[in-house]
Amino acid sequence: MKSIHKLIIAITVGVGATVTSCQKLNIPPTNIVTPDVIYSSEAGVRSFLATIYTNLPIEDFKYRPDGGDDVNINGVNHHLPGFNPGNPWMNFYNTASVTGEEVGPFGGVDGSVAGGFGYWPYGDIRNVNTLIAELPKHVSALTQTTVNNLLGEAHFLRAYYYFGLAKRYGGVPIITIPQDPGAPLSTLQVHRDKEEATWDFIGAELDLGYQMMAETSDAGRANRYVAAALKSRAMLYAACVAKYGSVNFVDGPARSAGLVGIPASQAAKYFQGAYDAAKLLEGHYTLYNANADKVQNYADVFLKSGSPENIFIKQYSIATNTAHSWDATMSPRYMTANALSRSYPTLDFVQLWGNLAVTNDDGTPKRFDNRADLMQGIEPRLLATVYFPGSTLRGLTFDMQRGIYPSFSGTAAAEVAKQPNSRSYVLAGDTKTLYQGKQIIGFTGPWTGGDELTRTGFYVRKYIDYNKPQATVDLYRSEQPWIDLRYGEILLNRAEAAMELGNTSDALTSINQIRSRAGATPYSSIDLDKVRKERRMELAFENQYYWDLKRWRIADVVLDRAHFKGLMPYYVFNENKYIFLAEPELYNREYTFQKQYYYEGIPGDQIGKNPNLLPNNPNY
C-alpha cells in the first residue's frame, strides 16, 4: 500500500513538473543576436561593423587577382575569393605580377586573372543595408550624433563595396534596402543599372559619408576625409571610363544599353568630382617627411604608425590569425626564416626613372668594382622601393650574381643576342658551386633552379619591415598595416584630374610635392604623361597600376605580347670586376591583355539565379 502512495506522489510530482516546466522555455533564443542587442549600444554596432570592414574589397597584401582557392587556417575554412583571408600567405600572387611592375607566378594576364573571380558581395551589401535601415530606429539608445556618424560610415562602406563592383563589371543592380527573401521572385531579380548611374550612386554615397561623419576616427575606421579620398579615386575611374572607354571598347548589347560605358560628355563632371574631393583633404593630411635621409624616409612611409600621410589603413595581428606574409614572400631565404619569394621587380619598371648607367658609350658593359656602385645617383624613392644589387637588409647584402665570365669582351647587346649555349659564362645550379674558388651565383640569385630567388636581379623593398629580426620573418608573421588610402595617392588623383581639366599649374604643384619628398628634381612644366608616370613610380606595387592600365584603356597596348627584362649582374673573373647585362627576365613570360577584359563578365552562377542580369558584358 505504501508503494502505491509513493507511486501516486511520484506521478503527481512528475506530471506537475512536466506541465509547468515548458513555460520557462519561452525565452528568446540565446544563440541569435537580435537587433536590440546590437543597436542598444555603440559597442554592439561596432561588433556588427567589424564584419563589414573585414569583408571590404581592400586590395591589400593578401589580395589575389585570380581569386585563389579556399584556405583553411587553423581549422577554419575561409571562402572569400580574392580578398582577405582568401590568400593568407601567397602574397606574391599580386596584380604587380601581371602588369610588368614585377614578374612572378602568373603565366600572363589571361582570363584567370583579368577575367576576374566572380566577385559579388551582395551579402555584405545586405549587411550595410540592414544597418542603414535599423540605425534611425535606435536614436534614443545611441543619440542622434552617434547615429548620424554611423550612418555616414555605413554610406561610405556601401560605396566601397559598389566601387569594387563597378570597376569590375560597370553597371550593377543598385540595391539599397535589405530585400525580403519571401518577396516575389520578380522583385528579387533586380535588373542591372547603367554604369553611369552606378558611379553616380557611389559618388552620392561618399558625399553622404563626407557630410555625416566626424573629422577623425580610430585607425582602420572611416572618417569624413576617408570618404572624400575614396571619392577622388572612384570619380577618377568613372571619368576615365567616360573619356577613354568611349574610344577603346568592345561593342555588344550591354554597351548599347549603357550597362557598360559612359558618354564621353560626362567625363568632365567626374574629373571635377575627383578634383574637388581630393582638394577637401588639403590641410588635413600631409606627406610623411620626418627623416632628412630621403631613402630612409620613403621606406618609413609604409612602416611608421601614426604617419600624417595615412588616411585609411587595414591592420593585422598574429594574435587573431590575421597577420600577412609580405616580409617572407618578398625577400629571399637568405634574409628570412623561410624560402617563399616568387615575384620580382622588372628592369622595365626600374627604368621608368631613366636608363641605368651600366653601358659605356661604345656599347661595352661598364665595369664596377662593387655592385653597390650601381646605386650612385639613383633617386632615393627608387632605392626605397626596390632592393638593388649591393643594398643591405638585416645586416646581409643583396649579392645578386647570375654567373661568372672568365673573361668578357665585346658589347653588352652582342652578348645578350647570343644563344645561351654560345655564351662563355659559367652558371651554377646552387650557391655551393665554385669557379676557381669563387662562388658562381649569389645567395640572393638570380637563378632559375627554384622559385625563391630573383629572376630579374631586383627585390621589392616597399613595405619590407627592415627591423624585423630574421628568425621571425616567416609566414603569417607580418603585422605592418596596409595603407589603403594615403595622401600621396590623393595628390596624384588631384594632379591627374587637374591635368585632364586643363589646370596645369595645380597639377604641377601637386606633382612637385610628391617629387620633392621622393628626393627627385621638381618639374618646371607638366603634361599628362608626366602625371601618369609619377603615379606609376609613387604607387608601385600598391595594386594601383593594374586598374590604372584598365581605366586609361591602354592595357591592350602596353600588354600586347609584352616581354619584360631583368638586370643580370655577372662577375668578370680575369678583371675582378662586375658587369650588368639587361636580359629577358628568367621566367620569359608573355603578357597580352584582351580588350574584353576592360570589364569582367557577370558571374555565371549569378546569371543562373537572376537572368535579369543579362545581357552580359561584351564578348562574355
Partner: protein
C-alpha cells in the same frame, strides 16, 4: 549456415541486377554542328588559334558556348545537346555579324557562315635565298571605309602546319612584326605592298609559313594568308 549465406548472396545479386531498370530519359550530347566560315572574298576565312569562333546560345539557357574555328576556316562540334541555338561567328578579323540566326541543331547539322574579312592578303609569294626567306604580299580591304586601324603585319613561322598567332617561333615571327598603326585609307600603294625578310632560317629544316595583318578591332584580331611549306636545303 553456408546455404543461408549463399541464398542471401543470390537474392542480393538478383536485386542488384534488377535495380536501375529505368534509364535516363534525357538524350546525351549526340547532336553535332559543323560547317565553313566562308570569306566573301572567296574561299574559307583563314584563321588561327584563339581567334575566330562560332558562338552558340542554347534557347532557354543563359550561358553561351563557343566552337573555335580550325585554321582552315572550318568548325565542328559533335558533343552538343539537340536543341535550337542562336549562332553567330565572332572574335575574328571580319566585319561584325550582327544578325544572329537560330539553327535547330540535331545529328549532322551543317551550316556555313559568310563573313566579310577586314583585310585580304593577295599575291603572297615566298622566295628563299640561302637561309634568308623573303615574303611578299599585298594588303587589300574589301571595305575600306571605317576599317579598324591596322596595328602591324608580320610573318608566322612554325615547324608544324598549325601556324599562326600563338603558334609560331617568336624569333621568326613576333619579333619581326612591322608596326603600321595607320588606318587603311591612309596607306600609300607602296605601304600596301609588303616585303618581309626572315634571316637565319635553319638549313635542312622544314617550316610552315604564313603572314598576317593585325587590326585594333575589339579582339586585336588578324587576317592571315594561306600556309605554305618551306624546305630549307642543307
Amino acid at each position: 549456415m553456408k546455404k543461408l549465406i549463399s541464398n542471401f548472396l543470390v537474392v542480393a545479386a538478383i536485386l542488384t541486377i534488377s535495380a536501375c531498370t529505368k534509364i535516363d530519359n534525357y538524350g546525351g550530347p549526340n547532336a553535332s554542328f559543323q560547317g565553313n566560315i566562308i570569306s566573301s572574298a572567296g574561299g574559307n576565312l583563314q584563321t588561327s588559334g584563339g581567334s575566330t569562333q562560332i558562338r552558340l546560345q542554347q534557347i532557354g539557357w543563359t550561358t553561351p558556348q563557343t566552337i573555335p574555328s580550325k585554321f582552315d576556316g572550318t568548325f565542328e562540334d559533335t558533343k552538343l545537346f539537340k536543341s535550337a541555338y542562336k549562332v553567330v561567328p565572332t572574335n575574328g578579323a571580319f566585319w561584325p555579324v550582327t544578325d544572329t540566326i537560330v539553327v535547330n541543331i540535331a545529328q549532322g547539322t551543317k551550316h556555313d557562315f559568310t563573313v566579310t574579312p577586314y583585310i585580304v592578303i593577295k599575291n603572297f609569294t615566298t622566295s628563299l635565298s640561302g637561309t634568308t626567306l623573303t615574303l611578299k604580299y599585298d594588303i587589300t580591304a574589301p571595305i575600306a571605309a571605317g576599317l579598324p586601324t591596322i596595328k602591324d603585319t608580320q610573318p608566322y613561322i612554325n615547324t608544324t602546319k598549325l601556324v599562326g598567332a600563338g603558334a609560331s617561333i617568336r624569333e621568326y615571327s613576333d619579333l619581326l612584326a612591322v608596326s603600321i598603326n595607320k588606318s587603311f585609307t591612309d596607306l600609300t600603294d607602296a605601304e600596301k605592298s609588303v616585303t618581309l625578310t626572315v634571316p637565319n632560317m635553319i638549313p635542312g629544316r622544314t617550316f610552315f609559313v604564313r603572314v598576317g595583318v593585325r587590326l585594333s578591332d575589339s579582339f586585336n584580331s588578324s587576317n592571315f594568308s594561306e600556309i605554305v611549306q618551306i624546305d630549307v636545303p642543307k
